[in-house]
Symmetry: C2
Subunit: 141 residues, 2 copies
DNA sequence: ATAGATAGTTAGCCTAGCTCATTAGCGGTG
DNA sequence: CACCGCTAATGAGCTAGGCTAACTATCTAT
């Protein structure tokens, strides 16, 4: 592994891409898309956030996040309220509808992966969980 | 973890999606896109394959794979040759140009992740590598 | 001979990322 | 106080890469 870092990276890359693709294919109902769901989760965890904060949290560009928030706003799952102090900023908050979706959708959304993880050995699950922490650190650093 | 399978799955899901997104953002030159590169790698490893075989290998639909192969063909990196035995089938083969790209691009493509993995401890790298095998198994099962 | 299955393809849709450019508001300096 | 440069949000338009539905050609089995 140390002598073949490229191949190790290649293997990790392929696995991450394939799993992510497979996860997206499991669309499990719903009322919101995957990226919208991520934003709603973030908002119900952290309360009101600005567009830039949301974009940075997911490491995507502000215009990309703007579109996602637009859709959520149109569907009534978030509201934009201008910041009273700095009027350039817009605070984005989940509505009751948005919070309700998070509560209702979370386990449905993860059902496929949860089931797959059930079929693993405890050691494999532990490895996966440990790795997910590392992957997230790499991805958001 | 066993008592909170949804949260474990959620963590793994987020990590996979975020890492995959981050990886895609590292586009590193080039002459081919990410999915084209994956196909070329597959072809140079396994020789001639049909469209369906390629689609199944990556667990995507035939039309999706068809588009990727179209682009590769237009750019001269693969050729389609009708199967002499079963004329419904089309064998897809990498050209010299395609193989050359695989050789030249592999390490560039993984440079970002390779570098990140270098910053990990050996134990973390081992965890990541072990997890990638599990993730790939889940994704392609 | 024909009916059904299979392989590839075309057309058209969707999600979700991006850059570039614009508008509005903020803060500091001549 | 006027202006300049920075920041926040947004609009426009592009791209990659998934999908389904529907068509054609071919094969296979009855």
């Amino acid at each position: 592994m140390t002598e073949l870092p490229d191949q190790a990276a290649s293997q990790v890359r392929l696995a991450a891409v394939r799993l992510s693709r497979r996860l997206r294919a499991q669309k499990s109902d719903d009322r919101v898309t995957d990226s919208q769901m991520t934003v709603l989760m973030h908002l119900s965890k952290h309360g009101s956030l600005t567009l830039s904060e949301l974009a940075e949290a997911e490491r995507i560009s502000a215009p990309s996040m703007n579109r996602t928030v637009d859709c959520l706003e149109t569907d009534g799952h978030v509201v934009r309220t201008p910041d009273p102090v700095d009027r350039r900023k817009t605070n984005i908050t989940a509505t009751d509808s948005g919070r309700e979706i998070v509560a209702a959708t979370l386990h449905k959304r993860n059902a496929w992966l949860t089931e797959r993880m059930h079929e693993l050995t405890p050691a494999e699950r532990a490895t996966l969980l440990a790795a997910s922490e590392i992957m997230d650190r790499i991805a958001t650093q």
